[in-house]
């Protein structure tokens, strides 16, 4: 559905994207996660041809993103936190305007969505609150049953109630639609995404199904006999190592239960206890980001 290869974008001398290669499978709910300024919006803007990459390639629906035509845009929905809708049109005025552009526009669905989101048809768009405007943008992106829905930081500035309404509305219509959603807040996508990609400083740290990620990345808590025991060089897959008294914690990014104790004891003396703790997506993201930055520094 989406494929990028060595995608780079440079603004003056600053690299916003650095050789980013990504693949979004059809039917997936793909979360693009990264801190503010990581390059998520840049990537999405390249995907929908709002800006052009400095190098590399991006394909959306099998078409070079620079060549996206109305034919493809009829199957792409795009919602962004800072999308500018024609503010002087009313809600129904804009929906009326959009309808003829989409042969598959579903009026019943449009009505259902506007009712669900309680969008006032006679209100001008620039008189809507930020939350209502984001819902309006989603209401304009769903009625034509897009094959691909791209959501760029849709939850920014939304209160939890609106966010939940938004997600409920989205989940109700998702079906076999492919969804690419970017966010800096993992909590927002945790219950929704099937796949996840971490972007940091324009680089893709990894992408994989959410399920394998939470299995693969675990926090290990090792209790030793006494403080400052001997430790051999730790593997690169152990990150975010912290020592508090005689307790050592780290994140194993290639966790496997097989021979876990022996592998740890071969590197650390006096191991008294080993405890494996599953990590939340937020904790995984924080640990990986921290580790990446310390390597870069």
């Amino acid at each position: 559905m989406i494929k990028t290869h060595d995608l780079s974008k440079t603004y003056r001398s600053c690299g916003a994207l650095r050789a980013l290669s990504l693949k979004v499978a059809e039917g997936s709910a793909f979360a693009l996660v990264g801190a503010n300024g990581a390059g998520k919006t840049t990537l999405i803007k390249i995907l929908v041809n709002l800006i052009q990459a400095s190098s590399g390639s991006a394909y959306v629906l099998g078409v070079d993103s620079r060549q996206l035509s109305p034919q493809q845009f009829r199957r792409i929905g795009y919602v962004s936190e800072n999308q500018e809708l024609p503010g002087r049109l009313t809600v129904s005025g804009y929906l009326n305007y959009l309808r003829p552009f989409y042969p598959d526009w579903d009026i019943a669905l449009e009505r259902e969505i506007t009712q669900r989101f309680k969008l006032p048809g006679d209100r001008k768009i620039n008189e809507l609150s930020h939350g209502m405007r984001v819902k309006m943008a989603l209401a304009c992106a769903l009625p034509y049953h897009p094959r691909l829905l791209i959501l760029d930081e849709p939850f920014s500035g939304l209160d939890p109630l609106v966010r939940d309404e938004f997600m409920e509305g989205l989940a109700a219509q998702a079906g076999d639609m492919t969804v690419l959603i970017s966010s800096h807040d993992l909590g927002e996508v945790e219950g929704f995404a099937t796949d996840i990609a971490f972007v940091d400083s324009g680089r893709l740290l990894f992408q994989e199904p959410l399920e394998t990620l939470t299995d693969r990345v675990q926090q290990i808590k090792v209790t030793v006999e006494r403080q400052s025991t001997r430790r051999d060089a730790v593997p690169e897959t152990w990150i975010d190592i912290q020592e508090t008294g005689n307790v050592l914690t780290f994140v194993d990014t290639q966790f496997s239960e097989f021979d876990l104790g022996e592998r740890i004891r071969s590197r650390i003396d006096g191991v008294r206890d080993i405890e494996v703790q599953p990590m939340s997506l937020r904790a995984i993201f924080t640990s990986i980001s921290r580790a990446t930055r310390s390597v870069q520094e």
């Binding site: 800006i51 845009f73 002087r88 305007y97 959009l98």
Partner: protein
Amino acid sequence: MIWHMFKKDLALMWRPILAVGSIQLAFTVIQLRLQSVDGSAVLQQLSQVLLWLWLMASVILAITVVHQDAVPSTKQDWLTRPVRRIDLLAEKLLFVFLMVQGPSILTDLVQGFANGFAVSQTISATLARAVVVFLALTLPALALGSVTESVTEAVVLVLVAFFGVFAFTMIAIGVAGGYGHQFDPTDFTGEGWLTNALRFFLLFIGGGFALLFQYQARKTKQTNILLGSTLLVLLFSQFIPWKPVFAVQKVLSPAPGLGKNVAMTWQMQPDTDGQAAHSQGQTENRLFIPLSVTGAPTDALLKADKSEVSISDQHGTRLYVGTGEDVEIRKDTAKEPLSYKQTVQVPPHIFQRLEHQPVSVNIMYSMTLFKLKSSYALRVVQDGQRMPGWGLCHSRINENQTAIEVSCIQIGKGPTCATVFLEHIPSGDRNPENTACYPDYSPFKDRPIPDVMTRFKLVLPFRDVSGLTKYPVDATRLADSKIIIRRYEPQDHFTRIVASPLLSIRDSASNN
């Protein structure tokens, strides 16, 4: 989808469109009122204010129409919609043409029809004006709108361009040697339309290509460079050389060869021994060059579009190069040769160098031969006399009972060269003739500013309140008199060179 997008823009923009249309309507009403209310200064000023207001409002409106679906933005919703960009561009062009220019097109048509001009004449003049306004005003405004996201940004860009042009002009003036230097040799000549046509062509190419490129590729930086380059080429167009422009005009002559027998020579004058006369002032010195003209057909008028003067010493070294003043020679009878004194202004410091040595004067004339095209006779007091090729005129005696005033209107470009006089029909006596030539050799019917109508007034005095001047056709003979208008049309363009023998300007001073 073009019509669908058009309706959306109309729903968003109908209020400003109505406002700009109202300005246009008010302007037209005042113009019509000015036709009947003679010389109302207040109305004249109001019409000027409204004209400028309309121009600025139209530009801002055109820019705002484009901004409804801003192009350089990365936030506009339409960019990720199945909107064909070429359709959107077509919609904007259509919208601006119909909704921004539309009211002025409509009022032009109404004025033409209301004044009884022929349908074809009215439509062609209206369309010609609409095209000129589109190229000079609308297209640049659209192009500006396509590279900006807000009116403020557009205004900033206009200011940057304005100061750029200002700086360029200042530098050019500095390089050329000070104020008063005329860059465009076609300014105030009948050939000026060729330079303007070139500029319109540049605007069409530059503006049109910028719009196409920006809408298709959305590369604002490159489009700005393209627009900046167009502006630069437009600026340099004022340095267009005269000779190729005149050569083109020659090719376009309606009757080429009509002036082939016209000869212009230095007139040997026995009383001044063939010398040039001069008058000396503190800031300028004038040379009077005696000319003899033969070979012009009868009922013709010769006008120099440009006279390039060079003064050389006896060794042929050029001491001064400049331009002569207007030359206008009328030939009503078969009598030949015709004499004329060409005036040449020479700066004092040059004159001081010239007066102490023998010099020769060479003048290269770029001439236009006008031929009498039609004559009209108009009663002294008459309403609504329609004269084909001239316009619709009303004549009356002024309030002071000293002159006949003739007010005329013509749709599109009006007459450019004519002789007018009062003639007593029974005796054939005439008052002094009044010749006015403001040539424009353009083949187009356009009259871009302020509207499609050309309004002009002729004043023919018949009484001098001081009593110093006696007119052959005075108040007592007006009842049997008519206003005669003789309209001339340019027929041929050619060059002639006049060379003087070696002469001393200083010696000739005593003869002046």
